[in-house]
Symmetry: C2
Subunit: 319 residues, 2 copies
């Protein structure tokens, strides 16, 4: 079975780890990762979601934190602060920095990000085909209420998503193209999964790459999503601030409606919600969705595997 | 008094540190540094001679090693080796890497190397005006006997200068221009010093920048050199391999003749040699040079200061 996942960072990585535990190696899993959070920092290319996926699936992630490396240190960052260049709110861990340096070297050698990612992933053996959504430099910027436009990471990490925002834009999005393998991973899939990633700045950014939404609406594979919102709050992170910025309520129902049902021009066929959101599942079923409420908090790998099984069974895809 | 020094790495840095101890802060010292050893490594810009000067004059150098940072560690380098990208023979220390990252960020922001160097040096307060020879990317390559052309650092660090070479070339040298301040530092100087740096790949590379040699031959300031060769061997490093490659004997006399006397179209007026090379000084005096033999091994800062005093007095410039 070919399974394709559209993923942001921590939530998508933990879901995919559960999915792999469920389906094993005889199935072919492709992860299309958001790269809108990427940035050039101190001259090196940082790709937060790709790295979170690589470290999580490769067994090297800082488990409690959800991103970055286990046993990380900050010797370079501490020293760099001595030069007083700014961006001191974004710390580059020493181990993580090695990844950024390797990536930057390969990019500067002229390799596209997709090939660079394959080279880096070869070390971590994530058990999936890991694809950036695009080889182009697309970066998510936040449009602030005060008129400024800042990089998403600055809003997210530095300001903890507290600066009032009225929307998001992706730089270079009009001319961006999906990375090699992205569209075929959608058209050839047996099932496509939208994991509990940020619907706005993770999945939403992937969907904004020209061609991706069409590939999703036209694929023969069913598309099932897992709600990142449980009981009116994001499972993790500050997705509520992103949803609010684009005028979507932070509820499992509103996010499903934001994605939309494929039969109605959206991208999903099915929506898995947490048991506390059973009423939302009922509403969705009433208007033709496949939907079900299950315990959907990914507390550990076996739980994530069970949630993945629930998602697949919702569209009759059992490994 | 305005003193300008044409410097490579360790030898020039230690000499300049002695010079500063001698002349104090009421004199104005400008160091024009070789940047031919610079390279892009893992996507960051490494400038070995500028950094050795900055760390040595800023009191942060690894004293025994002569270059790099005191208390250096290799956490990033060790981790980077896991990606197996090659160049593992050139280790980036963690503290040193912070400098490269800061430099790379500023370069990528569009600042020329001379301004970047001023920004970095502001942290280290080297007590001199530190100038790269050029803002252009000029890199010294080694022409090997087997026909290959490799970066100087690969020849020097990886192969310990043991691969037979038949010469050196500087990339982009024809179109390179001296960095802002370089030519005026030579024309306006009260004295110019060529410290015991590598005559071929350090001082020779600076001299190859169009305009620098002319500025030296035409300045009103006397130009005094200190021999990097003592008793037929380089004081430090493998300068003999460089001299051999260009057909110059590794003797204090041959190096002086290679630089040449300004009255004969060369760049020097005076040449300070070690006491073991007293015969060379006598030969040079016989053909019109100012030359003197003194204990010229820079064993510590006071000794380097005394050697600097001897060099200045050879051209009647006493602080």
């Amino acid at each position: 079975m070919k399974i394709t996942v559209l993923s942001g960072g921590v939530g998508g990585a933990r879901f995919t780890r559960g999915l792999l535990a469920l389906v094993g190696t005889e199935h072919q899993v492709t992860v299309i990762a958001n790269t809108g959070d990427d940035m050039w920092l101190h001259g090196v290319r940082v790709c937060p979601d790709l790295d979170t996926l690589m470290y999580t699936l490769g067994g090297a992630v800082h488990e409690e934190q959800g991103w970055g490396r286990r046993g990380e240190t900050r010797r370079v960052s501490d020293e760099l602060a001595g030069y007083d260049l700014g961006w001191d709110w974004f710390t580059l861990g020493d181990l993580d920095l090695a990844t950024h340096l390797a990536r930057t070297e390969l990019l500067r050698d002229g390799l596209p990000l997709s090939q660079v990612t394959a080279r880096l992933a070869a070390r971590w053996r994530p058990g999936v085909t890991l694809l950036p959504m695009t080889d182009d430099e697309v970066e998510t910027h936040v449009l602030l209420d005060d008129g400024r436009e800042i990089h998403f990471e600055e809003w997210w990490v530095r300001h903890r998503a507290t600066l009032p925002a009225r929307g998001f834009v992706q730089t270079n999005i009009a001319t961006a193209t999906p990375a090699p393998g992205v569209l075929s991973a959608l058209s050839d899939a047996d099932v496509v999964v939208v994991p509990p990633s940020n619907p706005v700045v993770s999945v939403g950014t992937i969907l904004a790459i020209p061609g991706v939404r069409d590939a999703l609406t036209s694929t023969d594979a069913p598309v099932v999503g897992v709600s990142p919102v449980v009981g009116g709050a994001p499972v993790r992170g500050m997705a509520d601030a992103c949803l609010t910025a684009i005028g979507v309520e932070t509820t499992a129902l509103a996010v499903a409606q934001h994605y939309g049902r494929r039969a109605d021009g959206g991208i999903l066929d099915a929506w898995l919600v947490d048991e506390v959101d059973a009423p939302a599942a009922a509403v969705l079923r009433g208007v033709g969705w496949a939907s079900r409420a299950v315990p959907a908090l990914m507390t550990d790998v076996p739980t994530a595997a069970r949630i993945a099984a629930d998602a697949l069974s919702l569209v009759d895809r059992r490994p």
